[in-house]
């Protein structure tokens, strides 16, 4: 045959590229390429270890300053002591009221936030038309962008007053006020994650239910929400994490009395949280004193509680996922198991004798409740923004934006604070962005499931769950004091970088995961090295997702007060900082001080709040636009 003869002719190649025929030779270009690849791998690996190191240092430095108090008072007395009286004749350090306060505030916040959030999520995912959705969804996300000190400001001025008058209480600073505020802050987190979960319930489930004659509400109630249960639980847990670690807003409205409410469900009692204690007492406490150590003890307790909440939550999610989705082969079969169950539930529900309400009435009733929750969420956003815009717009002048403050911020402008915030955020990003991306690339592209990578992931989770005030404390103990940076811009930047690192790692990981494996195979099959594949094929399409994550973390960093208040900020400075070792002004801290310490600066207060709000919201807006762009591109 012709072919056989042809086969005898040695292969000539096209003759365009001249490369050595020998392929197995250690001195070839291939070896060099492999070396580069190995070096990059090692480099990424060492960067990825950073997360573990950071966690290690945080724990070491908290324990270093916190263990003494436990030795002095005994762990049992420290944890179960009913009195927190560090300044008394005989100082007493019992954190039980603080722990109880933290848990109560969080629990009630969840009671308020969960139904509202799920209602809103259901509305956005299932009920709203595209036009309404385009308004409601970003509105809810913007709620997440409002800095916590703005919430605190709003709570101090409006919320506590409202509670005092509406419930005829002597004082409005209370557990209830803290919980309402935290609920508002947790709603956007819970809503957007829950909405994602609801949106990803397979279409077939929905159609299956509707085809059985169930109406829209019955389908939502019996098929969609149960189907999205694990995602919804995850959403609630994330919201809880946010609530438990919040400092600045809470300490402005709860009254900070270290008492356990009496009776225990008296929502009008003032309470004090662990974070609030750190926030109000840390600045004034004498270094090395018993009280100082006690505050670090409080931080350790806070860290342990957050950890416990997060890991319990993770266990619950895993369990739900396991029971609702057994993973043997033939996934269609597996998926049909819950579906059959659900279909049965639908049938039971539709069956006339079990009806309490006519289905149409039930649907109308349920939908109006959902509408109510959406309206209240939007109304809250409206009230906060209106309050700030109406009162703050007048303060915004050219001089206010470009001048330096004078008379304790009652006059002059906030330019150094605006620039200081940009510096802090820019520096934090410059540190966290490369570290975060490298870590994520290492975790996704380089490693199998080894104990070490599990360790790195656990460390990232831990960082993610760490309250921002704990970062602040760590920055203070490690960067400011131990490394002797002093209160300086660099200390604040590093502290903020640690805080946003997990967000960047997470979003980058998600982006990388969404790049189909077939693209990587295509590249490898052409002889590309791992690094060439990552750099040229994987990272470019993942970039928009990575940037969205980075922008969101910028927004978070710009609005945070707790991590910088002990590490980087000054109340006033005539000049902008000229080196990294100088402290800076920052908008959130400036607002915090104006709100709590400077009487008669009302216009400046609102003006600062407005500028901060605009800055953070425009960052969020950019993120939302970027995401929408990418989404559209993906659909194409």
């Amino acid at each position: 045959m012709k072919k056989e003869q042809a086969a005898l002719v040695p292969f000539q190649g096209f003759g365009r590229l001249r490369r050595p025929e020998v392929r197995i030779d250690p001195s070839s270009a291939g070896a060099k390429r492999q070396l580069v690849d190995r070096i990059v791998g090692k480099l990424l690996f060492s960067v990825a270890l950073f997360a573990i190191i950071a966690v290690f240092f945080i724990i070491v430095f908290l324990l270093r300053d916190g263990y003494q108090i436990v030795l002095e008072t005994g762990p049992w007395h420290f944890l179960t002591g009913q009195d927190w009286n560090p300044a008394g004749q005989n100082p007493i350090f019992g954190v039980l009221p603080l722990i109880v306060g933290t848990l109560l505030v969080m629990a009630l916040a969840m009671v308020i936030a969960v139904p509202l959030s799920i209602g809103t999520a259901v509305y956005i995912a299932e009920i709203a038309g595209p036009g309404t959705k385009a308004v409601v969804k970003p509105a809810v996300e913007l709620l997440a962008g409002i800095p916590s000190v703005v919430y605190g400001f709003f709570g101090l001025i409006l919320l506590t007053d409202w509670i005092r008058v509406a419930f005829d209480q002597p004082s409005g600073s209370s557990w209830l006020a803290g919980s309402i505020l935290l609920a508002i802050m947790a709603i956007p987190t819970i809503t957007s994650v829950a909405e994602d979960a609801i949106g990803s319930v397979p279409r077939e489930f929905r159609e299956g239910s509707l085809a059985l004659g169930a109406n829209h509400w019955q389908t939502i109630k019996n098929v969609i929400v149960p189907g999205a249960l694990s995602g919804i639980s995850a959403a609630i847990i994330l919201g809880m994490g946010r609530a438990i670690g919040e400092t600045m807003a809470v300490l402005m409205v709860t009254g900070n009395a270290a008492v356990i409410p009496d009776p225990i469900l008296n929502v009008f009692s003032p309470v004090r949280t662990l974070t609030g204690t750190l926030g109000i007492e840390m600045g004034e406490v004498a270094f090395g004193s018993q009280h100082y150590h006690a505050l670090f003890g409080v931080a350790v307790v806070l860290l342990i509680i957050t950890l416990a909440v997060n890991s319990t939550a993770r266990l619950i999610i895993n369990r739900i996922q396991r029971t609702s989705r057994p993973t043997p082969p033939g996934w269609a079969g597996a998926a049909s198991v819950p579906f059959v169950r659900v279909a049965r539930a639908v049938r039971d529900f539709v069956r006339p004798q079990t009806r309490i309400l006519h289905p149409i009435t039930a649907q109308r009733f349920a939908f109006s409740l959902i509408a109510l929750s959406v309206i209240s969420v939007i109304a809250v956003l409206g009230v906060i923004i209106a309050e700030i815009v109406v009162n703050g717009a007048g303060a915004i002048t050219w001089e206010f934006l470009t001048g330096s403050p004078s008379d304790l911020g009652r006059a002059g402008g906030i330019f150094p604070a605006i620039v200081g915030t940009l510096y802090l955020v820019g520096g934090a990003l410059a540190v966290a962005f490369p570290l975060g991306i490298a870590t994520a690339v290492y975790l996704i592209e380089y490693t199998a499931d080894t104990p070490l990578t599990r360790g790195i992931r656990a460390a990232v989770d831990l960082l993610n769950g760490t309250p921002s005030i704990v970062f602040g404390l760590f920055g203070f103990a490690f960067l400011v004091l131990f490394l002797n940076f002093g209160v300086s811009m660099i200390a604040g930047q590093i502290t903020l970088a640690l805080m946003i690192l997990p967000t960047i790692i997470r979003t980058t990981e998600e982006s990388l995961r969404s790049i189909p494996h077939s693209l990587r195979e295509g590249s490898y099959a052409l002889g590309a090295t791992k690094w060439q594949t990552i750099w040229r094929v994987v990272l470019p399409p993942a970039l928009p997702g990575i940037l969205t994550g980075a922008i969101l973390s910028i927004g978070r960093a710009a609005g945070e007060t707790a991590p910088i208040m002990f590490t980087a900020v000054v109340f006033s400075s005539r000049y902008l900082p000229s080196s990294l070792s100088e402290p800076v002004m920052a908008l959130p801290y400036h607002l915090f001080i104006l709100t709590t310490s400077v009487p008669g600066a009302s216009a400046q207060k609102y003006g600062t709040a407005l500028v901060l709000l605009l800055m953070v919201l425009s960052i969020y807006l950019i993120a939302i636009l970027v995401r929408r762009r990418c989404h559209r591109a993906k659909v194409m």
């Binding site: 030779d25 693209l519 590249s523 052409l526 002889g527």
Partner: protein, 253 residues
Amino acid sequence: MGESAILETKCLNLWYGQKHALIDISVRIPKNTVTALIGPSGCGKSTLLRCCNRMNDLIDSSRVTGEILFNGNDIHDPRADVYTIREKIGMVFQKPNPFPKSIYDNVAYGPRIHGVSEKKVLDRIVEDSLRGAALWDEVKDRLYEPALALSGGQQQRLCIARCLAVEPEVILMDEPCSALDPIATAKIEDLIIQIAREHTVVIVTHNMQQAARASEYTGFMYLGKLIEFDKTTRIFEDPAEELTENYITGRFG
């Protein structure tokens, strides 16, 4: 089977974790021919294919014993450069997987990562490769448009062009037509025969007619073993094994 073998496996065994996926495979793939691998799903044909350019390295749990010789050299030799091996032994996948880049950049990707940066040279490689994959006339006016805008069949030919651009000696094809319609399939089949004049092609297929039409040699695999390997005409007309005959005639299982 007297002609020179470009690829040869000797007692090749492969495990995925506990699963013994390839059992004692010994086969010689003759140079500049089309060899088809057939067999029921899960019989190991794709695995065998992916062994030949060490794509299985990417699966952590895989373990290999035995030898795969490429031009007489063991590709698992510790001194072997896996990237050069993949450059010399290209692969086309079941589903077209163009990169989210322009048509031009897709084809130029391979030469670029192997160090070609001169625009003129790249232009020629892109044109030659696209001509080689019978796609040039369809895309020459829109080289800088996104590759994902092409139809499925065009995308698969683009992937073949991308593969040709690095001048492999062997091209491994893993069910390259399974995601395509009959017209696109026919075009790819023609292309395979054409490519085999200068390259060795190994193709995994479920399509009996395709194996019969396009290949000179056929191997039948079953449960991780190579049951029979011979000239395609022989396999289809007078197989030595009853198992092979049952499979080909559709009286299987």
